[in-house]
Each structure stands twice: as structure tokens, then as C-alpha cells.
Amino acid sequence: MPVSEAPLSAPLNVGFDYTRSTGPVLGRFVEALRERRIEGVRGSDGRVHVPPPEYDPATAEPLTEFVPVAAEGEVVSWSWCAAPLDGQPLSRPFAWVLVKLDGADTSLLHALDAGSPENVHTGQRVRVRWADETVGHIRDIAYFLPVDAADTTPTEDPPPVAKREEGAPVSVIITPVHLRYQHSASPEESRYLRGLAEGRLLGQRCPACGKVYIPPRGACPVDGVPTTDEVELPDTGIVTTFCIVNVPFLGQRLKPPYVAAYILLDGADIAFLHLVLGCAAEEVRMGMRVRAAWKPREEWWTSLENISHFEPTGEPDAAYETFAHHL
């Protein structure tokens, strides 16, 4: 095993605007919020649930009897949030509260803008602070305020809204989700990526079965042991299988048609995906010999992007039998 440096690590930020159909119960609830009203639903035991579940929590019967409730109520429990996180209703310290609205029998979770924990207590009377712009989303309730507090602070921008006909009820809500991670490559992957920055193609061999993997793996999928012996591979190999991309899609870098292929480097036991350019798409075939076309050295970094694409060498094709077991 080569002397190990710390694995490569980098921030990984992911985001997606989750778009969801609301259905008849939640649709009516968020539609009412857009009109600055709150509606609950009556459960099979007679209790009024706010927010409304679609099915009774006890009997699983569908619930359909809507009941208007007040935008004012009392705190059932609370917890102080001294350092708010991204996406929470307030960016200044606040209390999470379970609020039982007047006319409801269950409680709603939301934020209470109270300044400090000394200003919060169970049984406290609170009221809804509506968002300055309501769109039909739980965030139309910007937060709660002590019942006699003034609305002095503008509320945040509303979440994005799905397209809908003018005057149509809310049938879809959009909730943006953004998460931040610190992603780490494995020690084996880190060796490989650092090799690429030097223009080297480093694989590793499984100590049990002798297969050579590029990129090397944290564990051999046959034997379940980490790959260890380093193997430097040439930048020549063959196309094992391929497809011609004819369909344009968002973010595409090349103009179709072009070829995405599995490239099996000479001496490797696993193929990886790359581009085959430098000939007409219809000329690419299984067994075709190819060589890496490297980008200029000054553009190299710890990425397989250092190889712009593979192109035909003009050598005779490899016989099918020589690579059939790699398909």
C-alpha cells in the first residue's frame, strides 16, 4: 500500500425544488392560508386537527369535514432555538412552538418570534404573523407573535410558486431543499485523482483475485477487500460497448450526434465511460482501438476531465473473444 496522504475532500452542495401535488385536503388547507384563513378537519373521534391530516391518525378513514379555526391560540410546548439554521422561519433566535389554535384540538408546529426565552411560556397567547405575500404554502404563516405584539418587521420572500391558471386553486406546492456536505473520496480514489493531476492513469490490483480496477475501489466487488497494489496503465485501450447520443438535453456540452463509450484500458479489468471523437459516430464499433486525447497540461487537475476524449488509433480491432468477459 503506498504511503497514504489524507484523502481528497471537497464541499458538495445539492439542491432541488421539490414540487408536490397537494390533493383535496392539503390543497384546501394551503388555499385557505393564501386567503389568510386557517382550516382544520374533524377526525373520527370528533377532534379538530390542525394542520389537517388526509386520513384519521387512529382509524385511517379519509377525513373531509373542514372546520374553520382562529389564527390565534396558545403555546402547548416550546423549545428555544438560539442559533437558527438555513431555511428555518426566522434567522434571529426564536422559539419552536406547538400551538393549539382556538377551535382546534391538536397543535401546529411553527416558530414564535419572542426575542428571548424569558418571553416564552407554556399557555402563552400567540397569533399568526402572515407573510407579507401569501402564495398557498405553509410558509404563508411567516411565524407566530405574542398576541399583543406589533408587526414591525417585513417578512421574507415567499417560496417559488408553480404555474397555475389565474384564479385557480392551489394544487401544487414547491419547497426548495438545499443541503451542504463535505464529500470525501476514498484513499484509493484519492491516489487515482492525484495521479490524473500528473497525467498518470493509476489503477489498483485486488490482492485476492488480481483484477485491476481503474478508478481503483475501496473494496473489490468480488472479494470485498480493499485494492492495494498500484498499477500504472497506458492511455490506450478499446471500446467495449458504446451508444450514439442523438438527443439534446439540458447542460449538454457537445452537439449531437456523438459517442459515449465504455473504454477498457490495456491491462485493466474494468471499463469506464468516456467520449469517442475524432471519427464519424457511425464508424465507432466494439473492439475499436483508441487512445486518450489529453487537454493541454496547464488545464490538468485532479479529474478525468484532463482527458478531453478518446480517438481511434487506426490499429486493427481487438477480437470479440478478447473482451467478451468484460461486457
Binding site: F29, S79, G87, P89, H110, S186
Partner: protein, 350 residues
């Protein structure tokens, strides 16, 4: 139907942060080797594989696929996955052996909770319409639950600190634990609130970890371990996801699961309680008498590797039987927010 036994257990150290990947391979490879060495099995002997983990911890779709390398998935194996604590993967494996389809199974769970911001990531397991868009963090939700019990007189802040102190003292015998040692209850009560009414000691530490457990039919297990831990009962239940409609000071799902089991004669119970007050809720729900030793490993408060802490509770309860330290034990696992889903397993030496 064949009875099922736990025949082997291993866990990775419960640490605040590993340098490894989110696919868990680095944590899993050594502990898989450990259970194979202890049971004399090899991967060819395993009839079924099942794991628990979460894409949201890794920040990638289908992240558990990469972990399959650690078990050696070629030639093809019979494998499954749950997006829950691996205790629920154990349930699936237990069923598979009960049906007679296989006579061995390997269950594993893993999670690198340190890669993201755990208390925020966990908001995404909540209702996606009325809760998750507010990003309520897991600590704050537990704080709401703890206060309900404090104000109802069910427990005091001192009771909570005593739970934490006992857990850390017990963990001094557990080399895998992240937190351990003697702490003074009065000193704990002098520390500041993190999510008022909860303090640092009330909250399980963010933990990276993994666990592996080998199941076998009772007949097969006798060849693998001297004192197999027979799973004489496994039950799991779920409570409503509507937080405001539940009595958060109780755990009806745990109570219902316990009613379906024979808990008479249980000597110790490994409880998966990531917050001090949740241990008190579980103890009441299980109706255990004062002689039953609670979480002698230190429990989740001394190391809570996401998606394997529940499986590890079953492993710890089984290991006491393997070592001849107990004849009948109980293990509990939880998944979801504020004890929403709960699984119980009774283990016995026979």
C-alpha cells in the same frame, strides 16, 4: 418455521468524524472480516444480505449501492436495503430465515453523519407539506417533547442528567463508545442549554459508525457460536407522523410492541434513546421493573451512529448472551422523529 438466532456481531468505533467515504466501505470491511473470523463463515456461506442507511446522510441518490462492494457482490448475491435503521433490515432478514428460504443472513448498517449538518438533514424525514418546509431540527423537536414531560411532572432536569451520567459511566467498559467517564450530575445541570430545555448531555453526539450482525437458523447457529442468542420475539409499530396529534410524552408504538412480547425475566434492556428523556419514555412504555439493567453498553447517548445504532443495540443484547452474561435480554431500536417508529427484539439463550 425455523427459529432464528444472532450468531455474530461487530461494530466500528463510534467516532465524531471519520476520514472515510459516505458509502461506509472503509468502516465495513474490517468489521465484516471480524464477524467472518468469529463465526467461521465466508461470504459464500451467506444466504441473504440486508442493510440500512440513508441517501440524505450521503447527499447522493442510491448511495448504498457503493457499500455493496464491501460485501463482495459479484458473482450476484441476494441483497436488499431499507432507508431506516438497520434494525429494520434485521427484521427483513429474520423473516427471510423464518420462511425457510435461507438459513444465514448478514445485516449491516452504516452512516457518516458528519458529512452534512445532521440536525438539519433529519428535518427531511418529516411530513413534506407542513413540517419539512419549516426545517425543524431534530434537537428542537426533542426539546418540545422534553418540555411536555417536564411541565407534566413526569421527569425533572435532574432526572435527565442522571440518565446521562449513568450512560457515560456504563460506557467506560465499551471500547466502541464515543463518550464515557464519570460525570457529576450537579455539574451537568450547571451547563448551558443547547435547545432549551435540553443541554449537551441530553443529546446523543453526532456519530459516524457502522455495525454488522450475523443471523442464522437456530440449528445452524449452534455450529457458529457456543451460546446462540435466539430471537424469540420481534415486533415493530409506528405512531402517527402528525406530531401535534400525538401525546409526545408516551410511546404508544413501543407499548403496543411490548404487549405482543413476553418480557418476563428480561435481565437487561438495550434501549435506543438518542435523548435522555426518551430513555425515560421507553422505560415506562416497556413497564420494566427496577431490576432490569438499562443499556449497560452506555447506549445511544454515548455514541449514536445513524442507521446502525438500533442494530447495535440488538448486537449488544445478543453479545451478553454469547458471553454467558445474561440468559434473556431485550433490545429496542427507533427510527424517524421523536420516537415515531419502534422495534423490539427479545433474545434468549436456549
Amino acid at each position: 418455521m425455523p427459529e432464528v438466532a444472532v450468531a455474530g456481531f461487530a461494530q466500528a468505533p463510534n467516532v465524531r468524524e471519520t476520514a472515510g467515504t459516505t458509502n461506509g466501505v472503509e468502516m465495513l470491511v474490517p468489521i465484516l472480516a471480524e464477524v467472518f473470523a468469529a463465526t467461521g463463515l465466508s461470504k459464500q456461506d451467506i444466504g441473504f444480505w440486508c442493510s440500512g442507511s440513508s441517501d440524505y446522510l450521503a447527499g447522493r441518490a442510491f448511495s448504498f449501492i457503493a457499500a455493496v462492494d464491501a460485501i463482495g457482490a459479484f458473482p450476484p448475491i441476494h441483497e436488499s436495503h431499507v432507508e431506516m435503521d438497520a434494525a429494520w433490515a434485521l427484521y427483513e432478514a429474520w423473516l427471510k430465515i423464518r420462511t425457510g428460504e435461507v438459513d444465514t443472513a448478514l445485516v449491516y448498517g452504516f452512516g457518516k453523519a458528519s458529512a452534512g449538518q445532521l440536525r438539519r438533514v433529519l428535518a427531511l424525514q418529516l411530513d413534506p407539506y407542513v413540517l419539512a418546509p419549516l426545517w425543524p431540527d431534530s434537537l428542537s423537536l426533542a426539546g418540545l417533547q422534553a418540555r411536555l414531560g417536564l411541565e407534566a411532572g413526569l421527569w425533572s432536569e435532574k432526572d435527565l442528567a442522571e440518565v446521562a451520567a449513568r450512560a457515560r459511566a456504563d460506557a467506560t467498559d465499551n471500547p466502541a463508545a464515543q463518550l464515557s467517564g464519570r460525570v457529576d450530575v450537579a455539574e451537568l445541570l450547571d451547563t448551558p442549554y443547547v435547545a432549551d430545555p435540553l443541554r449537551t448531555h441530553d443529546i446523543a453526539p453526532v456519530t459516524d459508525g457502522a455495525a454488522v450482525l450475523v443471523l442464522a437458523s437456530a440449528e445452524r447457529a449452534r455450529d457458529l457460536v457456543d451460546r446462540p442468542a435466539i430471537l424469540t420475539g420481534v415486533e415493530h409499530r409506528v405512531d402517527s407522523p402528525v406530531l401535534g396529534a400525538r401525546d409526545l410524552t408516551r410511546s404508544p408504538s413501543t407499548e403496543a410492541a411490548a404487549r405482543a412480547l413476553d418480557l418476563d425475566g428480561v435481565e437487561l434492556a438495550e434501549l435506543h434513546a438518542p435523548f435522555t428523556h426518551q430513555e425515560l419514555i421507553l422505560r415506562r412504555a416497556l413497564g420494566l421493573n427496577g431490576d432490569v439493567r438499562i443499556s449497560p453498553s452506555g447506549g445511544a447517548l454515548t455514541g449514536n451512529p445513524m442507521f446502525s445504532a438500533g442494530l447495535a443495540r440488538i448486537g449488544e443484547a445478543a453479545a451478553r448472551i454469547h458471553r454467558g452474561e445474561a440468559g434473556k435480554t431485550l433490545a429496542h431500536a427507533t427510527s424517524g422523529p421523536v420516537l415515531q417508529q419502534n422495534l423490539l427484539a427479545v433474545l434468549e439463550a436456549r
